[in-house]
């Protein structure tokens, strides 16, 4: 467009009007006109190149945090930073990963952080990208997982292009996320950006961890750096997670030593493999059964003290319960029936409860992820993994000889009970073995039989208890826990994020993918194919939002109405979705839909071979509801 002419006449008119009413615009107009050869004649047009844009410095800052990937759906509000990442930064550490939805970007970060043990970044496009991101951010928040979020925005209204850019700009970008992020900032200078990104990184990764959001202002990014010699990227020193008070730890040891039926409930307790090792040490010192609530991988499924599937009975008979970073403490001891809302107490009224947790330091008012208030006998504020060695030490040093004998005597029964629990799971898995659609236990078994020779494996996302009940999982990286907030759409992108982290560590990644969850954002399959992220995706395709079918059945029963219409609005049939076709259209190797149980293992085997070649692959298996 012949902008010169139009703009010139506009400016002239504007100047006249403004002069007449004496407004600020008089000053604004000539300032704009100075910038370019608006009159179209006279001096030769200047080269307007910005040789060292602010976004180059932003990339330096991001590099200083060690973030290796930035997942993003491209957007103009951060186009300068995007360009600096790929050109100035060489698209390495961070590498730009093309995503098809901001929910995918964040959920990838979520899965990645748990598998990698460190956060990665995502970039959201102004208002629209941030709004798309919200559900996944909420999941990460509920799961206490760090995500480094960056967002583009043009704060200075004077510079915004009219129209769409206004819709995509926001005065307070983090406002919609503030209820479920740990911290945010909107830096107004590059130095401010550097300090805030490092602060954000520290805050995000200190337990209780959580997502943080830094706005990378578009003008700051696009304009040249002024006075670069004055800019400094501060040193990044991570804070050490805090250990619980030593007196309280001694008290906890006393209670555990005196207990006859102690039990440990571990949820988001282990932050790394070391956490698991420490928990094993404590459990063995006391011979106390451990229930792994699964927020993280806390305890090997092969250990005779892992009694996860006996949780109910153990809590019922317990005299002392040690909870380690349990997300829902009340729910471990009490329940509310559904749909009649009848209160039931599971535990003994006089059970002594100890909770080691930092969760109370990160509680906000609006969203109710804090769960019901739970009175306990000893609340130790401290990071569970950091506190365990001191507790184990106290247990060992405080053990009387009588206690040592009693604790030693527990082994036999514990080993027998563990065996019984495992036999029960295997017997349950055998029931309905030949049924069509295939039983979830059989699917889980076939998958295991294909991958069992992998030295290092990770089942990234799975709602199936079978994987934990039937599979021998000995390593921290075998499972990474759940979504946190149970917001649908987490599964596929979180698994791809975990697979990305695991690709770099040589860990084979698989996931059990539910159908409804995949349809929230199937585009992440393309992201996996495009970036060559190997992952074996096995569909648990029950052709329904299965839980909602059951809810409708319950409501029909409650309301005394017909019991045969629960499929309306809850099932995903008519037409059936062909996930194999969907996956292959997005660049994956795929198999299915498989309805014959006998064909499941060979299909998984073929897909497995593709994953071993470095490709993502999907097997669509039509399954029982659960």
């Amino acid at each position: 467009m012949a902008n010169g002419f139009d703009r010139r006449s506009f400016l002239k008119g504007a100047a006249l009007t403004a002069a007449a009413i004496g407004t600020q615009l008089v000053q604004a107009a000539p300032a704009r006109a100075e910038g370019g050869a608006e009159d179209g004649k006279g001096a030769a047009p200047k080269d307007k190149a910005v040789k060292r844009p602010g976004s180059d410095f932003m990339v330096d800052v991001i590099k200083a945090t060690g973030i290796e990937y930035i997942a993003s759906n491209p957007g103009s509000s951060f186009r300068s930073l995007h360009e600096s990442i790929v050109n100035y930064g060489g698209n390495k550490k961070p590498e730009f990963l093309t995503c098809m939805h901001e929910e995918s970007s964040v959920a990838m970060c979520h899965g990645y952080a748990k598998a990698a043990g460190k956060p990665m970044g995502m970039l959201a496009h102004g208002t629209v990208g941030l709004q798309h991101a919200t559900m996944a951010v909420y999941n990460a928040w509920c799961d206490r997982v760090p995500v480094m979020m960056f967002a583009g925005n043009f704060l200075d209204a004077d510079k915004r292009r009219p129209g769409v850019e206004w819709y995509h700009c926001v005065q307070d970008p983090a406002a919609i996320h503030r209820d479920f992020t740990k911290w945010d900032d909107q830096p107004v200078s590059l130095q401010h950006f550097a300090e805030s990104v490092l602060r954000a990184y520290k805050i995000a990764t200190l337990p209780p961890m959580g997502p943080v959001l830094i706005t990378a202002d578009g003008d700051l990014a696009e304009e040249p750096i002024h006075n670069e010699k004055n800019l400094k990227i501060p040193k990044l020193t991570m804070s050490i997670p805090s250990q619980g008070d030593s007196g309280a730890v001694a008290e906890a040891a006393k209670l555990l030593l005196a207990a006859e039926h102690p039990v440990i409930l571990a949820d988001r307790a282990s932050r790394s493999a070391e956490g698991m090792t420490r928990l094993i040490e404590l459990a063995e010192a006391l011979n106390v059964p451990v229930v792994d609530l699964g927020g993280r991988m806390n305890f090997p499924t092969t250990h005779y003290l892992n009694r996860t599937d006996d949780k109910r009975a153990l809590v019922q008979e317990a005299d002392v319960v040690l909870m380690l970073e349990v997300a829902d403490p009340w729910g471990q001891f009490n329940s509310i029936s559904d749909p009649h809302h009848e209160y039931r107490r599971l535990a003994k009224p006089d059970v002594k409860i100890i909770h080691i947790s930092v969760s109370e330091s990160l509680t906000k008012s609006n969203y109710q992820d804090m769960q019901r208030f739970m009175p306990v006998d000893l609340a130790i504020f401290g990071d569970a993994q950091a506190t365990l060695p001191a507790l184990t030490e106290r247990v060992k040093s405080g053990m009387s000889s009588n206690q040592r004998v009693a604790i030693g005597d527990r082994v036999k029964k514990l080993q027998t009970d563990y065996r019984r629990m495992k036999e029960r799971a295997r017997a349950a898995a055998a029931v309905g073995w030949d049924v069509t659609p295939i039983s979830t236990a059989r699917l889980s078994t076939h998958l295991w039989n294909v991958v069992k020779n992998e030295e290092k494996w990770c089942m990234a996302v799975s709602g199936m208890q079978w994987n934990k009940n039937l599979w021998p999982a000995k390593e921290y990286y075998n499972f990474i826990g759940g979504s946190g907030g149970s917001g649908v759409g987490y599964g596929a992108p979180a698994a791809v994020g975990a697979a990305l982290a695991n690709r770099d560590k040589g860990i084979f990644t698989m996931t059990i993918q539910t159908d409804g969850d995949l349809m929230y954002g199937p585009g992440v399959l393309w992201t996996a194919a495009h970036h060559k992220i190997p992952i074996l995706i096995v569909m648990h395709n029950n052709r329904a939002y299965h839980q909602e079918v059951m809810h409708l059945q319950k409501m029909a029963g409650l309301h005394n109405r017909a019991m045969d219409r629960a499929a309306i609005g809850t099932t995903i049939e008519n037409p059936n979705i062909d996930y194999a076709k969907l996956a292959s259209s997005l660049g994956l190797v795929s198999e299915g839909p498989i309805t014959d149980p006998a064909k499941v293992e060979p299909a998984i085997q073929r897909a497995y071979a593709a994953v071993k070649r470095g490709e993502p692959a999907l097997v669509d298996v039509v399954t029982q509801g659960r």
């Binding site: 309905g432 049924v435 059951m550 109405r561 029982q624």
Partner: protein, 120 residues
Amino acid sequence: MRIKILTIAFLLAAAMPAMAQEKDKAPAGSAENGHTVYMKYMCYTCHGTVGQGADRGTGPKLAPNPVSFASFQAQLRTPRQDMPPYRKEFVSDQEVADLYAYLASIKPSPAAKELPLPNF
């Protein structure tokens, strides 16, 4: 009143075990129609299509070897806990008998040790 009836029932049962068993016997039902009804009322969502039970404690195993017909009927009409009730208005006595016949017809699966289940 209730105690009396129970006492009498107990005495009768003790004296005439054969008759007591007779009382517990399921009425005649069609396993084939039972399967249709089982699918129509979607018992499978919580119990699996062959009553194998569902993961995560969703619904217990129903077959093979279902509970007695009396317990079965009682559970359907007035469930113990969280299961939705299947009342007479919507599920007839004959349908209940058919459902039971279906569950009773389900053959046992191979034993766990005969299957390629992980074992460690």
